[in-house]
Symmetry: C2
Subunit: 138 residues, 2 copies
């Protein structure tokens, strides 16, 4: 089996991080099945996630390991972790603690706006769930 | 409204790319609601996606703009594009052409293995949908 085929078809875990040491991770609400957030993991965050069963990310803005929920209570308990074909992206199926949300704006999902293109250029619009009223910060 | 708050609560589209010029995009099958793949977009890929309604990525391995499906027929027609709170990640709700899959291994989703931790270290296991039989390349 070639190295590439082994990475794709084998059962050995060979996570691949980008030049910046990071890989994208999508957090999915295991009950509702929708995307809560997309963030990044470095090797330490991935290891901590698998070891503790609580999702850790690497905060690019703070340059620090980040156990999601430490300040908000929105802990993400890992139910299942998946890896993609070339092992450079992850999907975390999670149960969320606290108020059940993931977004620091107070909404459940970070993806509360859709992109619309039209005569007047490209604009955003709130999804029903993401409307302004729900954007009040806790 | 501060610049940060405008980015999070406003309706102006201000996509933010990383130091490498890229942002993660999660493709979701609009019918089944599950994650098909995670890839990256640069500004040109995002613009081409919004302009044409067909999802384009930036191939990091090939260093080229990549209209998904051009060789495989697995075209991703954009039904809705969402952006997250800080506008540096995207979710594309897509209808897939061709065989309805997204993965070059022949599977529908790239996330066909889960990560398992145990006595013998960290290993992968195929999900039911991602078992070896389905991994035969077309």
């Amino acid at each position: 089996m070639t190295a590439e085929r082994d990475r794709e078809e084998g059962l050995s875990f060979q996570p691949k991080f980008g030049a910046d040491g990071l890989a994208a991770c999508v957090a999915i609400d295991v009950r509702q099945g929708d995307v809560l957030m997309v963030a990044h993991m470095n090797e330490a965050a991935l290891e901590a996630t698998l070891k503790t069963g609580v999702v850790h990310y690497w905060s690019r803005s703070r340059g620090a390991l980040w156990r999601k929920g430490d300040t908000s209570g929105q802990i993400q308990r890992l139910v299942e972790m998946r890896v993609d074909c070339d092992q450079d992206a992850f999907v975390a199926l999670v149960e969320v603690g606290g108020d059940g949300g993931a977004c620091h704006t107070g909404r459940r999902s970070c993806f509360y706006r859709r992109i619309e293109t039209g005569q007047h250029g490209t604009r955003l619009a709130f999804t029903e769930e993401g409307d302004r009223a729900k954007g009040e910060r806790c």
